[in-house]
């Protein structure tokens, strides 16, 4: 029986990583998640470990089906990520990834808001190194923005929890709801990490700027942790349905336009989160099962896709759609894995995305949210477009720019193979996943109707792609920037801050020089009167003194007589 949160296994284990080299490091980075996994597997459900502090009971190990599921997938993804990043010689990324993963696992088991906050912030801090490690100027500035927003989210959580603490006297992390200001703040905090529309810009800003492995790792934890906490705290919140619907649909447009394939995948990440958020908003047992299942499958296929694009970036040095193409021949395995990932995310039957997305769609339809259902359907079609087809097409099949590169390194291939295998495995044997879900489920994804409708949707959507491409209507891949919400703080916001700086500094300078000026003049005046030659310091003329005597005498006499 382990007496401390399993997330700490990874966090403390990470300290050793910079010392280790080569295969020892690989083994160590793989053992840690494996060990943590076994530990969790051995744990019974319940609140297993608590601390008393601040007059509160801090629950650090709340083990139930939901937390179990997320911890498993986090550890699994860490494990795969560990293999994928074996080639790194850098001593920052690997420990940062482990701490990041460990904190996420830790957060999943938190039964109170305060310990959640602690892990929440650790994920923010650890993750920023994955972006910084790219060591480009863009990555640095992006990382700062990322960090501020992430920590801002933590701070909102902090504010929310103090309000709740004050109002209700406890900070248990159960259902929270939007009916109090504290709840609202916490909702916002979760929303930032979950990339709610208008709060999403950090994700598409920072993820594409991270390192090859960094983006893979980043895509796993933060947002899914947010999904987990939303499912805990805000299941059945009506607003989430609308938020989710928007999340599922608006990134499509960006994803179609974007050139950087990793940015495309970042937008697709938001779109996929949208499905889960809708499901949480519906909040029925089935919907929550759907959200959890989708989070599970999504982590794996999104990691797979990012790994394959990462392999491209690693080999070719770019992830821009306009500069890639025709790599099918030089990197066939990567191409294959990428297509498996694409099929999964597009929810082709017998791939993992299908078995989880189907639950959500059914749940939505079942509760009668028709408009939402249509939007999600629409988003599914879009997903196919910009990920399912666009990524493999522009990366591997479009015209040959004449790049000859080697196949991805073996460790990357193994990692991708593992993920790809999981995608297919879950797609074929969904019951494996279903058994892990938080609520009992008797859902059958593979009915003829499901398969057919999904196939129709996807195939005709794909035919539209071909036709549009041939007609030249499909937008060109341009080296460009597409404005997003971050414009507000990167342009006018920045200008405003600069303006404030200039104004305050000129104000200070003005004030300072003015004050100094005045002070100098004042001192000069003083000097004129009080200085060695001033009136008040003149001591020699005896006459003046006598005059003073006379004056004073008269004055006194006058005063006394009055």
């Amino acid at each position: 029986m382990i007496e401390f949160p399993p997330g700490l296994i990874l966090i403390f284990g990470a300290i050793l990583v910079p010392i280790l080299k080569g295969y020892v490091r690989l083994v160590w980075t793989l053992i840690l998640p494996l060990f943590a996994f076994l530990v969790i597997l051995s744990l019974p459900n319940g609140n297993l470990f608590s601390l008393n502090a601040f007059g509160q009971e801090l629950q650090l190990m709340r083990v139930d089906q939901l937390s179990r599921l997320f911890s498993y997938v986090f550890l699994l993804a860490s494990f795969i990520g560990g293999i994928y990043s074996f080639h790194l010689r850098d001593s920052i990324e690997a420990p940062a990834s482990l701490i990041y993963g460990g904190a996420s696992v830790g957060a999943v088991f938190c039964g109170d808001l305060l310990s959640l906050f602690v892990f929440w912030e650790i994920t923010a801090i650890a993750s920023v190194f994955l972006i910084l490690a790219r060591k480009t100027a863009r990555a640095r500035s992006s990382a700062i923005r990322y960090l501020i927003i992430q920590i801002g989210s933590g701070m909102l959580l902090f504010a929310g929890l103090t309000i709740r603490w004050h109002q209700t006297g406890n900070i248990d992390f159960g259902h929270i709801g939007l009916d109090s200001p504290g709840g609202l703040l916490i909702f916002l905090a979760f929303g930032i990490k979950c990339a709610f529309p208008l709060l999403h810009s950090w994700l598409v800003d920072a993820y594409p700027e991270a390192t090859v492995t960094g983006t893979v790792i980043l895509s796993i934890f933060t947002t899914k942790l947010a999904i987990y906490v939303l499912a805990r705290g805000f299941a059945g919140t009506e607003e989430l349905i609308w938020i989710g619907a928007i999340m599922a649909s608006f990134p499509i447009f960006y994803a179609i336009l974007e050139n950087d394939l990793r940015r495309v995948l970042s937008y697709s990440l938001i779109n996929q989160l949208g499905f889960m958020v809708v499901a949480i908003g519906i909040g029925t047992e089935m919907a929550l099962n759907g959200a959890a299942a989708h989070a599970f499958t999504h982590i794996i296929y999104k990691a797979l896709l990012l790994m394959s694009v990462g392999a491209l970036l690693y080999r070719t040095g770019t992830s821009l759609g306009s500069q890639l193409g025709g790599l099918f021949k030089s990197m066939p395995l990567t191409a294959g894995f990428c297509m498996i990932g694409a099929a999964s995310i597009s929810a082709f039957p017998f791939f993992s995305g299908f078995v989880s997305k189907a639950i959500i769609l059914s749940a939505v339809a079942h509760e009668g949210y028709f408009v939402t259902w249509l939007v999600l359907l629409f988003a599914s079609a879009g997903t196919l477009h910009y990920v399912g087809i666009k990524i493999p097409y522009f990366a591997f099949f479009s015209s040959q720019p004449g790049i000859k590169v080697k196949e991805a390194p073996i460790n990357m291939l193994i990692a991708m193979a593992l993920a790809a295998a999981l995608c297919i495995f879950i797609g074929v044997y969904p019951s494996l996943l279903y058994d892990l879900l938080p609520y009992p489920i008797n859902y059958v994804p593979y009915t003829a109707s499901h398969i057919l409708s999904q196939s129709l949707l996807l195939l005709f959507s794909a035919s539209a792609f071909i036709i549009l491409l041939r007609k030249g209507i499909y937008p060109k891949q341009l080296n460009s920037t597409h404005l997003d919400v971050d414009w507000f703080y990167r342009k006018p916001g920045r200008d405003l801050i600069r303006y404030i700086f200039i104004m305050t500094s000129s104000f200070y300078n003005h004030l300072g020089s003015n004050l100094i000026d005045r002070f100098e003049r004042f001192v000069y005046q003083l000097y004129r009167h009080h200085g060695p030659h001033g009136v008040l310091a003149r001591t020699w003329p005896t006459g003046s003194m006598v005059l003073w005597v006379a004056v004073l005498l008269v004055a006194y006499l006058l005063f006394y007589f009055i």
Binding site: Q323, S399, P401, F460, P475, S480
Partner: protein, 86 residues
């Protein structure tokens, strides 16, 4: 366009013939599924999906619509690559 644009779309045309075989198979599948859909299966998720060819139509026209919308939106959002850099 002033932007450093990617490959011209005309360059793609030379690639497409290699696709042709796949394309025929692809179109065959489309038609086959349509036939199956029309003749055998009833959908009952929502009230919409019993409309014949609902999914096919939705998939196709949905895609067309959002691609066209995206092209429109691009006019509003497109900036040079180094737009944010100073």
């Amino acid at each position: 366009m002033n932007y450093n644009s990617g490959k011209p779309i005309s360059g793609l045309r030379s690639q497409i013939p290699k696709f042709v075989n796949f394309q025929n198979i692809f179109y065959f599948f489309c038609v086959l599924l349509l036939v199956i859909d029309f003749s055998f299966i009833t959908h009952h998720e929502t009230s919409f999906d019993s409309i014949p060819f609902f999914y096919a139509a939705f998939g196709f026209f949905g895609s067309v619509i959002f691609v066209i919308l995206a092209v429109k939106i691009r006019k509003l959002l497109l900036r040079a690559e180094d737009y944010f850099d100073d």
